[in-house]
C-alpha cells in the first residue's frame, strides 16, 4: 500500500513519493488534453456563439442553418442509414464466425481464424483500392462471373453498398477477436452441465452465453458505431458523390470549400450524436478494467 508522505520526510522523498508519478504521466495527458478535450470543447462553445455587431452572444443559428439545409440533413440521414446497415451486416457475419471459432477445433478452424484476422494487416486505403479493382466494372469479380456464365453484373462501386462492404471488411477482425475472447470465458463444463440438466441449444444460448457476452457485445457495438460514424477513407473512395457520409462532407466543407466554421458545426453534431455511444464504450471498458484489477 501507499505510504503518503509524512511531514518530516525530505523534499527529495516527497518528490519521489508523490510528485514523480504525476511528472511522468504529464506529457501524454497534456497532449491528449490539448488535442482532444480542448478542441472538442472549444468547437462546442464556438458553434454556440455568434458575432452580432462585434459582440458575441449565445445563438443556435449555426445549428438551425445546418438543419434547414437539405444537403446537410440528407447527409446526416445517409450516415445513419449506413451505420445501421453496416452494424447489422457486421453482426450477421461476425457472430456466427465467433461462435464457430470458439467451439470448433482443427485445421479448417485454424485457417478460418487466419483469414478472419487478415484484414487487420491491410490498411484502409489499400483495401479501397483492392475493392475497386475487385468489385468495379470489369474487375476480378465480373471476370469470374463472366467465366461461369453470369452476365449483367452491376457494380456496387460508387454506390452505398460499396461503403457497407468496405466498412464490414475492415471491422471483421476486431469484432471477431473481441467476441471470441468473450465466448472463450464461458467454460465447456458450464455448457456441458447445462446440457446434462436438459437445456436445449437455444436455452443455453439465451441463458448462459448471452448474459456472459453482453460486455463484449457492447464494446463491439459502440466501437464499430463510432468507427463507422467517424469514417472517411472508405466512404470517400468507394461511395457515391451524393449523398455523402458526414466524414466526407466535413472534409469537403473544410478542405475544398474552406469553410471551417461550417465544418466545425458538422463536427459538433457528430460529437453530440456519438456522445452516448462514446460514454457507453468508456463505461463498459472501464468496468471490465476495474474488475480485472480487482481480480489480480
Amino acid at each position: 500500500m501507499t505510504t503518503l508522505p509524512k511531514n518530516n520526510s525530505s523534499p527529495r522523498q516527497w518528490f519521489r513519493g508523490s510528485l514523480l508519478p504525476y511528472v511522468m504521466i504529464a506529457p501524454p495527458l497534456l497532449l491528449m488534453g490539448l488535442l482532444i478535450f480542448v478542441p472538442a470543447l472549444q468547437s462546442i462553445i464556438r458553434t454556440l456563439l455568434v458575432d452580432v455587431n462585434g459582440e458575441s452572444g449565445f445563438s443556435l443559428s449555426r445549428y438551425t442553418a445546418f438543419f434547414s439545409d437539405s444537403i446537410s440533413v440528407s447527409n446526416l440521414l445517409f450516415t445513419f442509414q449506413i451505420v445501421l446497415l453496416t452494424l447489422f451486416t457486421i453482426f450477421l457475419v461476425c457472430f456466427p464466425l465467433s461462435l464457430y471459432l470458439r467451439f470448433a477445433k482443427g485445421r479448417v478452424a485454424g485457417l478460418v481464424q487466419v483469414l478472419v484476422l487478415f484484414p487487420l494487416f491491410v490498411p484502409g486505403i489499400i483495401l479501397c483500392y483492392a475493392l475497386i479493382r475487385f468489385l468495379g466494372t470489369r474487375g476480378t469479380l465480373e471476370s469470374v462471373l463472366n467465366i461461369v456464365g453470369v452476365t449483367g453484373y452491376r457494380t456496387p462501386y460508387l454506390k452505398p453498398e460499396a461503403i457497407v462492404i468496405g466498412l464490414v471488411w475492415e471491422s471483421i477482425p476486431f469484432t471477431v477477436l473481441v467476441l471470441t475472447a468473450g465466448l472463450g470465458q464461458i467454460s465447456d463444463s458450464l455448457i456441458e452441465s447445462a446440457q446434462d440438466v436438459g437445456a436445449g441449444n437455444w436455452t443455453i444460448f439465451r441463458k448462459i452465453i448471452l448474459p456472459l457476452i453482453i460486455r463484449p457485445l457492447l464494446i463491439v457495438f459502440s466501437l464499430n458505431f463510432l468507427g463507422i460514424f467517424g469514417s472517411y477513407t472508405v466512404p470517400y473512395l468507394l461511395g457515391p458523390a451524393a449523398p455523402q457520409m458526414m466524414g466526407v462532407y466535413m472534409q469537403q466543407t473544410f478542405g475544398q470549400y474552406r469553410r471551417p466554421d461550417e465544418a466545425e458545426t458538422q463536427a459538433v453534431i457528430t460529437f453530440i450524436i456519438c456522445s452516448m455511444v462514446g460514454l457507453l464504450y468508456v463505461r463498459t471498458v472501464a468496468k471490465q478494467r476495474i474488475q480485472q484489477e480487482d481480480a489480480t
Partner: protein, 289 residues
C-alpha cells in the same frame, strides 16, 4: 411420416439438431466459412497483387494478359512518389519515437506507482477512441488553422501522435504490471542498484510487449491517412495521402497497385508476428479492450 435413413428417434427438432451436430462434426460450417472468406478477403488482394506485376490485363482474363515490371520503374520515377515515400518513413519513425518517449515512462508510473487518480487517469486515455474520429480531426484542424499549423510537419506529427497514445500506454502498462516483483526484490537484496535492476531484470521481461507496442504504432502511423490529409495538405504529402489522388485520378492502374503493394510490406512484418501478437493480447489492446 416417412422414415428417414438412418432412423433417428425423437421429434423433428431432435433430428435437425442431430444432423446439425453431424454437420458440425464434419465441419460443414467451417468449410462454407472458409470458402466465403477466401473469396471475400483474399479476392480483392489477389487483384491488387497481380495488377502490380501486370504489363497488360484485358477483361475478362482472370490473370494478367502479360506480366512485367516496366511500370515499377515508371512509378518510382514519379517525383511525387519518390519524395513521399522516404518522407512517410521518416515521419512514422519520428512519431513512433516521440510516442515511446512520452508514453513508456508514463506507463511505468501507471503500472508501478501508487498515486491519487491513477485508475481514472489511465482510463481517460479511452477518450482517444470515444469520439467519431473524423469529427475530432476537423475540430483539431480548425484550431490548427488559427495557429497556422495546417500544411506543416509539426501539425501532422501532433495529430498522428494523439492516435498512438492509447496503444503506447495500455500495452506497456499491462506489461509492467505483469513483471514478477520477487525477482526484482531478490536482485535488490543482493545489492544491485535500482537502475541495474531495471535494465537487467525488468526491461528484458517487458521487452516483447514494448517491441509489439512500438511495431504496432509504427505500422498504424505509417498508414494513417485521414489526419495527415486534413492537417497536412496542401504542403505535406505522405504516401497514404498520395494514394487518394492516385486512386481518384486513375491515371494508370499499375501506379496504384504498385504503391499499394509497396505500402503493404511493413504490414507483412506484423503478419509474420501475428501469432505472438495474438497470444500476448496486443491486437485488441489498441482498441482499449
Amino acid at each position: 411420416m416417412t422414415t428417414i435413413n438412418p432412423p433417428i428417434p425423437g421429434t423433428f427438432w431432435d433430428r435437425s439438431r442431430h444432423s446439425f451436430v453431424v454437420m458440425m462434426r464434419r465441419d460443414g460450417f467451417g468449410l462454407i466459412a472458409l470458402v466465403f472468406l477466401i473469396l471475400v478477403i483474399l479476392g480483392p488482394l489477389y487483384s491488387v497483387v497481380l495488377w502490380a506485376f501486370a504489363e497488360k490485363w484485358k477483361y475478362p482474363s482472370l490473370v494478367p494478359t502479360q506480366f512485367g515490371l516496366s511500370y515499377w520503374h515508371e512509378t518510382f520515377s514519379r517525383a511525387d512518389i519518390a519524395s513521399a515515400l522516404p518522407f512517410s518513413i521518416i515521419l512514422a519513425l519520428t512519431v513512433t519515437g516521440l510516442s515511446a518517449l512520452i508514453c513508456i515512462p508514463a506507463s511505468y508510473a501507471f503500472a508501478r506507482m501508487r498515486f491519487r487518480g491513477r485508475q481514472l487517469l489511465l482510463l481517460s486515455f479511452l477518450a482517444t477512441n470515444a469520439f467519431p474520429r473524423f469529427g475530432l480531426y476537423v475540430s483539431i484542424a480548425v484550431i490548427f488553422f488559427r495557429l497556422n499549423l495546417i500544411g506543416t510537419v509539426p501539425g501532422v506529427i501532433l495529430i498522428q501522435l494523439v492516435n498512438t497514445l492509447l496503444l503506447m500506454i495500455w500495452i506497456p502498462t499491462a506489461a509492467f504490471q505483469g513483471v514478477d516483483r520477487s525477482l526484482e526484490e531478490a536482485a535488490l537484496d543482493v545489492g544491485a542498484s535500482p537502475i541495474r535492476v531495471f535494465i537487467q531484470i525488468t526491461l528484458p521481461m517487458v521487452m516483447p510487449a514494448l517491441s509489439a507496442a512500438v511495431l504496432l504504432t509504427f505500422v498504424n502511423t505509417f498508414y494513417e491517412a485521414q489526419g495527415a490529409l486534413i492537417v497536412g495538405l496542401p504542403r505535406v504529402v505522405t504516401m497514404p495521402v498520395l494514394m487518394y489522388s492516385l486512386i481518384n485520378s486513375q491515371l494508370v492502374v499499375q501506379y496504384g497497385a504498385i504503391v499499394s503493394f509497396v505500402l503493404w510490406l511493413p504490414s507483412l512484418l506484423l503478419l509474420l508476428m501475428a501469432q505472438r501478437l495474438l497470444r500476448g493480447g496486443y491486437l485488441t489492446a489498441g482498441f482499449g479492450v
